[in-house]
């Protein structure tokens, strides 16, 4: 369901030259598939997720999700596509501090469809074990609880693909496995494809498919190159 081909991305440096940081000849994820991307820091994992999510635009190549070529969409189209088709779990949770747990979950729905499904939001909070904390703001919650809310928020719109960027990096070991189990179980139940980026070997070892970004991204496998 996710198909990347010939995807390239460069950034303009202060000296006016472009630095290529991503060159992905081919990358695919099947519907409902759960896979892990591993790689050292700075190898372009987050950039790749941003390009898949339509947050950043690739310089070249094809990014297709469910037959939709994301890279050809307008910015507004990518926003809408992201809101409806994708879920995103951030390393730092990125819950909005002014909103309660329930409101954070509802927020994604607001941007996707313009209307909220409070029942669905409550079900998700119940599923992540936080139904009693629905009215609490992030500042009143533990790190583990915050990340669980972030997972519930990412799943709120029944996405086709969930991107998780090191979701357990800031979570204590006791909660780490709970978060991974929660994400995997939910994706499995709702037939959501999962691309999870992690540094943690113990997390990666649980997945059948583990891709090293060095194998995916040509730039990482060769020294950084400047692009003319």
């Amino acid at each position: 369901m996710l198909h990347l081909e010939g995807v390239k991305k460069s950034y303009l440096q202060a000296n006016g030259e472009f630095l290529r940081i991503l060159d992905v000849p081919k990358f695919e994820v099947a519907t409902g598939e759960q896979m892990v991307l591993v790689g050292r820091s700075g190898c372009g994992k987050t950039t790749l997720l941003h390009i898949i999510a339509g947050i950043s635009r690739a310089d070249a190549g094809t990014i297709r999700i469910d037959q939709v070529e994301v890279n050809k969409l307008s910015e507004a189209g990518r926003d809408r596509y992201r809101a409806i088709k994708l879920g995103y779990v951030f390393q730092t949770f990125n819950l909005l501090p002014a909103f309660s747990a329930l409101e954070n979950v509802l927020l994604g729905m607001t941007f996707a469809r313009g209307k909220r499904d409070t029942n669905r939001a409550r079900q998700l909070l119940d599923r992540v074990g936080l139904s009693a904390r629905a009215g609490h703001k992030p500042s009143a919650m533990s790190v583990g609880e915050q990340q669980r809310v972030a997972v519930a928020r990412a799943l709120a719109n029944r996405p086709r693909l969930l991107l998780a960027d090191e979701p357990t990096a800031n979570v204590d070991p006791a909660n780490q496995q709970k978060i991974i189990d929660l994400i995997r179980d939910t994706c499995r139940e709702e037939d959501i494809a999962l691309v999870l980026v992690t540094h943690a070997r113990e997390v990666a070892d649980q997945f059948d498919r583990v891709d090293r970004l060095e194998d995916v991204n040509r730039v990482v496998s060769t020294p950084a190159q400047e692009v003319s």
Binding site: I55, S56, R80, A98, L107, M109, F111
Partner: protein, 524 residues
């Protein structure tokens, strides 16, 4: 979750800064509401007094506006007086004849005739019958000529145009309030209100009378504000001070026999005394050239009162207490029998060198249009600028928060919010802050109005409550938009004005949100 709720949550997140910003806007709006209310009260007060019950003021030549301000609002000092006899040109023959029956000329003529009559009686005793008859005929002829010179046998030359004419004599004070010497017609004939159909009511007592056995010529009626502020009522007495609130008090005391109900007219703030009593007070008799008259006939004021005392004559004197030649009036309030007659009469009066005739409504309207209106417009502009400054504080508040909120905005964008959506959220924040401040300011302004409502009603007669909206700005023509903005209360224009202001000041931070680099800000 609606975008409004998202915006509101952001406002709550920055509670103190948002509160202070809203307070700043509230103060600005409160001032605008206060100015609009003052404008409304002034306009309504002017409008209430635009139907005065009379349509012409006849007074001494000079400033038209000053005559109007003096006579209608009891403000400023009178320019000069006009002869009482000129006032008599507005009254019917019978009343005029009665008034002129007590003149120094009449007394001189009577004395001359009596002397001649005595001489003829002596002559008839000694002379032949035919000679005596001739002498008697000559005497009667002389008397008739004398009477003709007195000019008694006619009505006032403007009386045919006049429905009523009420003289007023100004110059004295009761405390800070003007004392108005007039006739009982002031309250018997004059009507007020938009349709000039409301009679002046008395909350206590009655109208003063021209003469009563109990108080003679010295009865008075006070306006409601005068009664309250001077703490006087029926049965109390007061001695007017001459020419100035701080001036010397006259020796004569007037008895208050009535207190007016609040009417919302300048009469609330005046004391009305019987004009006959006014003339009897020291220094109120016009000095006359006694060269024309015998010293015997040029009697001092009040000499004609039967018992020589002003206050309590046993019966009403046959003659008026002060000869006509020694009387003056400050102005005459005239209601003409028709507008056309009014114009004719005004032309005739203004061509003379004695007096001028002004149309008070015209003068008041001119005053409002040329002075009060622009002043209020200036005030309105200043307060509107205060609102703009408050709006800028919203801009500063939101804009300063934008650097902290880049990450928040990037998260919203990552969740699927479009650039337009985040921009809308910021604009809604600005609008909500502006409206919250606006509502608080509106409520504050109206609360102030409510607190001051008693004072306002007492001073202007205009009744306002918490929900009273300022009336349309009929007199303000903003860039030719007068007819448009004059249709509804300007307070209703505050709503779109505040929204527009909020959108303008919110645009810069909203643009900043619009331009947020999501990928970069997510990592920050």
């Amino acid at each position: 979750m609606s975008l409004i709720r998202i915006a509101w949550r952001s406002i709550q997140q920055r509670g103190l800064a948002s509160f202070l910003t809203a307070v700043s806007m509230a103060l600005g709006v409160m001032m605008v509401v206060a100015v609009l209310s003052v404008h409304g009260v002034v306009a309504k007060s002017f409008r209430n007094n635009s139907s005065l019950g009379y349509n012409q003021i006849v007074g001494a030549r000079g400033g038209r506006l000053q005559l109007t301000m003096n006579t209608v609002f009891y403000l400023s000092k009178p320019v000069a007086n006009i002869p009482y006899e000129y006032y008599l040109e507005f009254v019917p023959e019978e009343e005029r004849r009665a008034a002129l029956s007590h003149t120094l000329r009449e007394e001189l003529h009577a004395a001359q005739w009596e002397t001649l009559n005595t001489a003829m009686a002596i002559d008839s005793q000694h002379g032949a019958g035919l000679a005596a008859l001739g002498s008697q005929f000559a005497g009667e002829l002389l008397e008739a000529q004398g009477r003709q010179q007195l000019d008694l046998e006619r009505g006032g030359k403007f009386s045919q145009f006049t429905a009523f004419a009420i003289p007023v004599c100004l110059g004295d004070y009761f405390g800070p309030f003007r004392v108005v010497g007039t006739t009982p017609d002031m309250f018997d004939q004059l009507r007020y209100g938009p349709a000039s159909d409301q009679a002046f009511e008395f909350s206590a007592g009655r109208n003063f009378k021209r003469w009563t056995p109990e108080h003679g010529y010295f009865e008075a009626v006070v306006g409601a504000s005068v009664a309250r502020e001077m703490n006087v009522g029926v049965g109390d007495g007061f001695s007017p001070s001459h020419g100035d609130p701080e001036g010397d008090q006259h020796g004569d005391q007037f008895k208050i026999v009535g207190v007016l109900e609040y009417s919302g007219t300048p009469n609330d703030r005046a004391a009305f005394i019987n004009m006959e009593g006014f003339y009897l007070m020291d220094d109120h008799a016009k000095p006359i050239d006694t060269g024309e008259l015998d010293e015997d006939t040029a009697a001092p004021p009040g000499a004609a009162a039967p018992d020589g005392q002003h206050g309590r004559p046993e019966t009403e004197p046959v003659v008026q207490s002060l000869p006509v030649e020694q009387r003056e009036v400050s102005a005459v309030l005239v209601r003409t029998s028709s507008d056309i007659f009014g114009m004719l009469m005004a032309d005739s009066i203004n061509k003379s060198n004695v007096a001028q005739c002004v149309q008070p409504i015209r003068e008041i309207t001119l005053l409002f249009d040329e002075f009060v209106g622009p002043v209020q417009l200036a005030l309105l502009v200043v307060t509107a600028l205060i609102c703009v400054v408050s709006g800028v504080s919203i801009l500063v508040s939101i804009y300063n928060s934008m650097s902290d909120r880049k990450h928040e905005i990037a998260v919203m964008r990552a969740l699927g919010a479009s650039r337009t959506t985040v921009m809308t959220v910021i604009l809604l924040e600005s609008v909500l802050l502006s409206m919250a401040g606006g509502v608080a300011g509106w409520a504050g302004g109206h609360a102030l109005n409510t607190l001051a409502s008693d004072q306002i009603e007492q001073r202007t007669g205009v009744s306002i409550n918490f929900l009273s909206l300022a009336p349309p700005l009929e007199n303000l023509d903003l860039w030719g938009m007068g007819p448009i903005i004059g249709l509804v209360s300007p307070e209703l224009w505050l709503i779109p004005a505040l929204i527009l202001l909020a959108i303008i000041v919110g645009f810069l931070p909203a643009l900043s949100a619009y331009q947020t680099d999501v990928a970069k800000s997510l990592g920050s």
